[in-house]
């Protein structure tokens, strides 16, 4: 499953987010986007040393500042891969032709090829359609 799909599946659920500065935000996930920017509500903020605490009604966290986040393990079953954002801040790629599961994940992770023909061939390969070149007689 894609990390951003997991994040999307976590909306309206408790989430723990640790930032790169060591501060820990524990709250309900309201919203997120493809940059991993998030909106939380009813947040408990804990300082790095674990000595100071804050209660925040709502907060916005920039994705680039996140070190990691934790969610309920049950969420793994609720992740829908087709509506997730594939790839980090790179532009969205069009989904491959009717592929599923691991093949889809593998296909999304492969780098884009140099030639258009090679990329079309690869897409067709992924969807297990075989292509036979039509024969052309040289003029």
């Amino acid at each position: 499953m894609f990390p951003l799909s997991l994040l999307n599946a976590a909306t309206d659920n408790q989430i723990l987010i640790e930032l790169k500065n060591g501060f820990c935000y524990n709250g309900l996930l309201v919203n997120c986007d493809k940059f991993m920017n998030v909106n939380l509500k009813d947040v408990t903020l804990t300082s790095k040393n674990g000595q100071e605490f804050w209660k925040l009604n709502s907060c916005y966290i920039r994705g680039a500042t996140i070190k990691y986040f934790q969610v309920e393990p049950e969420l793994a079953d609720r992740v829908k891969d087709d509506d997730g954002f594939s790839g980090g801040a790179v532009s969205r790629s069009a989904p491959p032709l009717s592929v599923r599961g691991r093949a889809a994940a593998a296909a999304a992770l492969r780098p884009r090829s140099l030639s258009a023909r090679a990329s079309v061939e690869r897409r067709l390969q992924d969807s297990a359609i075989s292509v036979h070149p039509t024969s052309h007689t040289a003029a």
């Binding site: 499953m1 996140i66 793994a76």
Partner: protein, 97 residues
């Protein structure tokens, strides 16, 4: 590059973070930015005066790619054969930017 790591999905991996933390978990997913989803992850804390300690990190966690220094496939048999609690080691320093 991420495609190579895709082969490790559903395997037990060890992740070295930029802070020098060692986290072991089942790789449940990743993307092009090497954001990683780990299931049942445990942090291995090393110190030079006492043996290795384990700090569980919760069932399902996601590590952001820009904090990841290395992702390694764990050899489950070799790992189980080691008596890690007896091993003393210096903590890995944080990566200098």
């Amino acid at each position: 590059m991420a495609a190579e790591l895709g082969k490790l999905i559903d395997h037990r991996v060890m992740v070295l973070t930029n802070e020098g933390r060692t986290i072991v978990g089942d790789l449940a997913g990743l993307d092009q930015s090497i954001n990683l989803i780990l299931r049942d992850s445990v942090e291995r804390v090393w110190s030079s005066d006492k043996g290795m300690e384990l700090v569980p990190s919760g069932g399902l966690s996601m590590l952001r790619g820009d904090s990841v220094a290395a992702v390694c496939e764990l050899n489950a048999d070799a790992d189980a054969a080691m008596d890690w609690e007896a091993v003393k080691a210096d903590a890995i320093p944080r990566l200098k930017p």
